[in-house]
Amino acid sequence: MPALFIGGAGMLSNADIAFVPDQYFRKGSVMFRYIMRRILMLIPVLLGVTFIVFSLMYITPSDPAQMMLGANASPAAYKQMREDMGLDAPFIVQYGRFLFGYKHPVFGYKGLLFGDLGRSYVSNRIIFELILSSFPNTLILSVGALILALLLGIPIGIISATKPYSVADMVFTVFALLGASMPVFWIAMVLIYTFANNLRIFPAIANPRDFLSLVLPIITLSMNSMAIIMRMTRSSMLDVMQQDYIRTARVKGMDEKTVVFKHALRNALIPVVTVAGLQFGSLLGGAVLTEKIFSYPGLGSIMVDAIFQKDTPQILGSVCFVAITFTVINLAVDILYGFIDPRIKSTFSTKKKLVRGNQ
C-alpha cells in the first residue's frame, strides 16, 4: 500500500485525489474489482425493484381492457381485447413481456430493458417519451434544491460547530429541527400564501423556463435536505475538531481560520458528501409532492396524475425509471466515497482482517 493511505487523518491533498483514479482504475486493482462487484450486485436489486413495482401494479383493481373499450363493450369484444393486450397471460409471462418486450401489431412494445413500454392507453402518448421529456424538469428542481441545501447547510453547520452551544448554534439547531419536521406541502402552501398571494414577488405556478417561478419550489424542496446537511456538517465538524491533529495544528500556532478551513473542513466534509448524494436521490422522490403543488410539469406530476387516471403502464414506467435512477445515483455516491476517503478504500482490500479485528 502506498504511503498516502496511512498518511491519515488530515492530510488529504488534491494531489492525492488526482492520483487515485489513475492507479485504481487499472484492471484487477482493488478499486476496479470493488466497482465491478457493486455493478454486478446492482442487477438483482434492479430486477427486484421492477418485480415489486410490477406485482403491485398487477394487483391493482383497474381493468385496462375495460378502459380501452368503454362501458358498453360486448363480452366477446372484451375477451378479444384482453387477448390483444396480453392480459390473459399468466403473471410471470406478463412480467417477462414487461422486461423483454411484447410482440403485437397494436399493443406491442420492446420492453423495459430497451426503454420502450408502448403507449399509455389513457393519454395514448408514448410512455418513455413522456418520462424522458419531463425528467429534465424534475432534474432542474432537484439539482437546484441540492445546490441551495449545500450552499446554506454547510456554512451554517460550520458556524454551529465552531461555536457549539452558543446562541447562534441554538437558533440553527431549532431551525434544522423545524426543517426536518415540517411537512413539505405545508411549507409550499405557506410560501405560496406569503410570496405569491400577498407580496406577489414569485408566481404560484412554476415552469422550467421561468427562473423566478422556480424559486419557491426549490426552497420548498431543499428545506428537508438543508436541515439534514446542516446537522451532518455540524456533528462531523465537532467530531473532527476534537481530534489530535487539530490540537497539533493549534499548538503549532496556526490561526483558527486555517485550522477550521484547511485542516478540519476537508475531513469533516467526507460524510457530508455521502449524505448529500443520498439526499439527491430522495430529492428526486420528494419532487413528486412539490411538483404537484406548484403544478410543475415534472415526472412527479405525471406519476400522480397517472395514479388518479389508473394509467398502469405510465405508473410502472415512471416508478421504475425513478427507482433505477435513484439506485444508480446511490451506487455512484458510494463509489465516489471510496475515491474521496482513502481510509474507506483501504478497508476494501483488508475487509476480512478488519472484521476479525473488530471482534
Partner: protein
C-alpha cells in the same frame, strides 16, 4: 423465579429507570416535547368528549369560512345550536378545532399502529436474518436493499395505488417503508451479540434459540429500537398527512390534518387560518417526536454519557 430474585430484578430495573429519567430530564426541550405529546394523546383519547364526531363531519354551509373566534348558528341533531368557532370554520362550515382534535386521534393511531407493525415484522425478520444467517440472511437483506432502493414516497404511493384507498392499506403503505430500518438495527445488533461469551454460556447450559433471543439478545437491542420507533412515529404521521394531502390516504369528510390542508388549498386567499392550524398541528407533533427521539438517544446511549 424465587421471590428473592424477583425482588432483586425489580430493584435493578427501577434503578435503571430512575437513572434513565435523570439523564432524560436534563434535556428540558425533550421534557417539554414529552408533555406536549402527552397532551396531544389526551386530546386524541378524549376527542369525542370535546367534539362529537358527527358534529365535525357534517356540513353547515351558512357558517362557511368563518374567521377564528366568530360565532354561528349550527343546525345539528334537529336543533339550532349557538356555537363559537374557536379556530374558525372551513369551506363546508365545519369547526376547524373540532376537526383538528379528531385528526389528532387519527394521526396518533396511524403513528403508533404503523410503527408497531414495522417493529414486529422488521424485528422478526431482522432476528431471523441475524441469528440464522446463511440463505435467510441473504434473501432478507436483498429484499431490504430492494425496498430501500425505491424512494419512500414512491413506494407508499405505489402501494396505496395498487391496493386501493383505505385506512388499512394506508397503514400497510407507511409501515412497509419503515420495516427495513428495523431489520437492519436488529440484524446488526444480533450479529454483534450472538457470538459473545455470555450467549455461548447460555447455549452451553442448554437454552434454546428462542429463549436466547428473548432473554439475552432482546434486552440489548431495546434502546436503539425505542429511539428509532419514537423518531418513526413522527415520520409516519408526516407520511400519512402527505398521502392524505395527495388524496391517497384518508379522504374528507373524515378529519385528517393532511386532507384538511388539501381542502384549504383553494381557499388560501380568503381564509389563511385554514392553512395555519393543521400545518402547525403536524409540525408540532412531528417536531415533538423528533426531539423526544433525540433526547432518548442521548439518555439511552451510554457512549454519549458524560
Amino acid at each position: 423465579m424465587s421471590n428473592q430474585t424477583f425482588l432483586r430484578f425489580f430493584k435493578r430495573q427501577s434503578k435503571n429507570i430512575s437513572q434513565f429519567w435523570r439523564q432524560f430530564s436534563r434535556n428540558k426541550l425533550a421534557v417539554a416535547s414529552l408533555i406536549l405529546v402527552l397532551i396531544f394523546a389526551l386530546i386524541a383519547i378524549f376527542a369525542d368528549v370535546l367534539y362529537s364526531y358527527d358534529f365535525v363531519t357534517s356540513n353547515s354551509l351558512e357558517n362557511a369560512l368563518l374567521k377564528p373566534g366568530e360565532t354561528g348558528t349550527v343546525y345539528f341533531q334537529e336543533k339550532d345550536i349557538e356555537h363559537t368557532f374557536i379556530l374558525g370554520s372551513d369551506n363546508y362550515g365545519r369547526d376547524i378545532l373540532g376537526r383538528l382534535v379528531h385528526g389528532a386521534r387519527i394521526s396518533m393511531i396511524i403513528g403508533f399502529v404503523t410503527v408497531a407493525m414495522a417493529v414486529v415484522i422488521g424485528g422478526i425478520l431482522g432476528a431471523i436474518a441475524g441469528y440464522k444467517g446463511g440463505l435467510f440472511d441473504t434473501i432478507i437483506m436483498r429484499l431490504t436493499d430492494i425496498i430501500l432502493s425505491i424512494p419512500t414516497i414512491l413506494m407508499s404511493i405505489a402501494i396505496v395505488a395498487a391496493l386501493g384507498n383505505s385506512f388499512f392499506n394506508l397503514l400497510i403503505a407507511i409501515s412497509t417503508s419503515l420495516i427495513p430500518g428495523y431489520i437492519r438495527i436488529v440484524r446488526a445488533s444480533i450479529i454483534s451479540i450472538k457470538d459473545q461469551e455470555y450467549v455461548e454460556a447460555a447455549r452451553v447450559i442448554g437454552a434454546g434459540d428462542f429463549r436466547i433471543v428473548l432473554k439475552h439478545i432482546l434486552p440489548n437491542i431495546t434502546s436503539p429500537i425505542i429511539v428509532q420507533s419514537t423518531l418513526n412515529v413522527g415520520s409516519s404521521i408526516l407520511s400519512a398527512s402527505w398521502l392524505s394531502f395527495l388524496g391517497l390516504g384518508i379522504l374528507p369528510p373524515k378529519p385528517e390534518w393532511g386532507n384538511m390542508l388539501s381542502e384549504a388549498r383553494e381557499f388560501i386567499q380568503y381564509a389563511p387560518h385554514l392553512l395555519f392550524a393543521p400545518g402547525i398541528a403536524i409540525l408540532l407533533t412531528v417536531l415533538a417526536y423528533n426531539i423526544i427521539g433525540d433526547g432518548l438517544r442521548d439518555a439511552l446511549d451510554p457512549k454519549l454519557r458524560r
